[in-house]
Chain length 312, copies 2
Amino acid sequence: MSSNHVVTFNQARRVAIFGGTHGNEMSGVTLVNLWMGNGGEIRRKGVETKPFITNPKAVEKCSRYVDTDLNRAFTAENLSAPGGKDLPYEVQRAQEINRMFGPKGSADAYDVIFDLHNTTSNMGCTLILESSKDHFNLQMMSYIKKAIAPASCPVLLNEDPRLKYATVRSVAKHSVGLEVGPQPQGVLRSNIFEAMRIILKHALDFIELFNEGVEFPPCTVDVFKVSERMDYPRDANGNIIAMVHPNLQDCDWEPLTPGDPMFQTFDGKTIPYEGVGAVYPTFINEAAYYEKQQAFVTTRREALAANAIRKV
Amino acid sequence: MSSNHVVTFNQARRVAIFGGTHGNEMSGVTLVNLWMGNGGEIRRKGVETKPFITNPKAVEKCSRYVDTDLNRAFTAENLSAPGGKDLPYEVQRAQEINRMFGPKGSADAYDVIFDLHNTTSNMGCTLILESSKDHFNLQMMSYIKKAIAPASCPVLLNEDPRLKYATVRSVAKHSVGLEVGPQPQGVLRSNIFEAMRIILKHALDFIELFNEGVEFPPCTVDVFKVSERMDYPRDANGNIIAMVHPNLQDCDWEPLTPGDPMFQTFDGKTIPYEGVGAVYPTFINEAAYYEKQQAFVTTRREALAANAIRKV
């Protein structure tokens, strides 16, 4: 596909905004509840925008999940599993969501799903992209980046089959994750709340412009491509024996080069990074990833070419 | 009791360090586990120091508690409740801890219990005092404040019967709460970990000096006395309708005067503080206190006089 080619898409008539996929990530829970009460702010011409709480039981408990992580549950196996009420709560919920907003991979699926997340990591406003070939999403992210400049809005590309996971938003034709931090679990901070709200505003503005027939010219989008998961150093019993080094803590998106401090053991020793070349760590010291044996992920920078797009 | 009077206490031979009273407050959990493996760092002449995980089931789940908040469970009623294995887990645990380290209020109780907590609030290293008449604790806190200067170490006095609660540490003759933040639940940050560790070092040094016969002269300790609990603004259904104002967020221990911004509603309106005189808010936007209907507590500054102390 050459960069001169204009890619066409149908209008994005059906858009969903998901909150509470993790029940203790309060910005999305609060925004979605607010918009369910009064949708004026997310209304756009020619678009039906549906705010939706994906994991109401986890929201009620203010916990990440009840039985299993909903944002890893949208596998083909889960979505077709028999068992009904005997299935884990989040698997049942995944099937319901797939019926309402999918089916995943079908022509009937919603056009766009935004899934709102918070992180304890110092990631700012991060957009998560699941495919480097999705020119609609690339153009949307380019639009958002320009709209909020000089504030920054990193794009995290997670398409490596070894590392990507079956997200709630993957039900849609175009899936957009929004990860805003730092914010502790169970806490609502006004700065994080407002930052998330502004990203959504620009995203919906983009969709309205697209639907109105605006053609977006070819562009380049700088992304951070997920490269490797890094676990905490552990002893033979699996217990953590070191913390994220103070020089790395809160330094999401900053370069980590071989020899730089990475972990600090409880007796004060520094463990340096020993990989090849500079990487850009993110999700540094995210609370929810201790159970996933992940201290951070490394990323590498890439510039993705987005073709021009316009509606069919 | 005049300030010239020297108060005498028995040597503090039995000291406990509690971690995991809230299972998702990781600095205390990690330090106590570390010291259970190797106690060299907390060993002092003539003192038996016992590191102890108070709520192991909550630690395993990485949640604040299993059935009920252990740090509110040490009421006379709970400690004498019949029921055995049918009682809520934390009530059973309170009875066990009371047998091991108490009984509360008796001559057999441990001399000193340190209880290690983290908060999502920007409280730095805070010492929590439960009685303005405990000259041993006042002297210890004065010692710690001097030892870590110019770093600061606020003392929070919570002795108002309307506001204080039946803590785990209340089992001891001298109970010391240590609250270090900001740190998200479920996260271990190296700066918070090391800050907590240093406070404990100085506290144990003080006990060793006291046991050796050092007399500590009269002194004055500046404290922040808990005054009032402030809830979030809510609608008729009890739902929160405003957040901590960005001007107040992270400003624990700084003066809040009438007219200052206190909350920000979701539609951007500012709700000012309308109390009488300056107060010093703390526990601002603590994750665990949403369920307790508390956005922050106000405190007022006081200078407490501590008598000279020495061992009997």
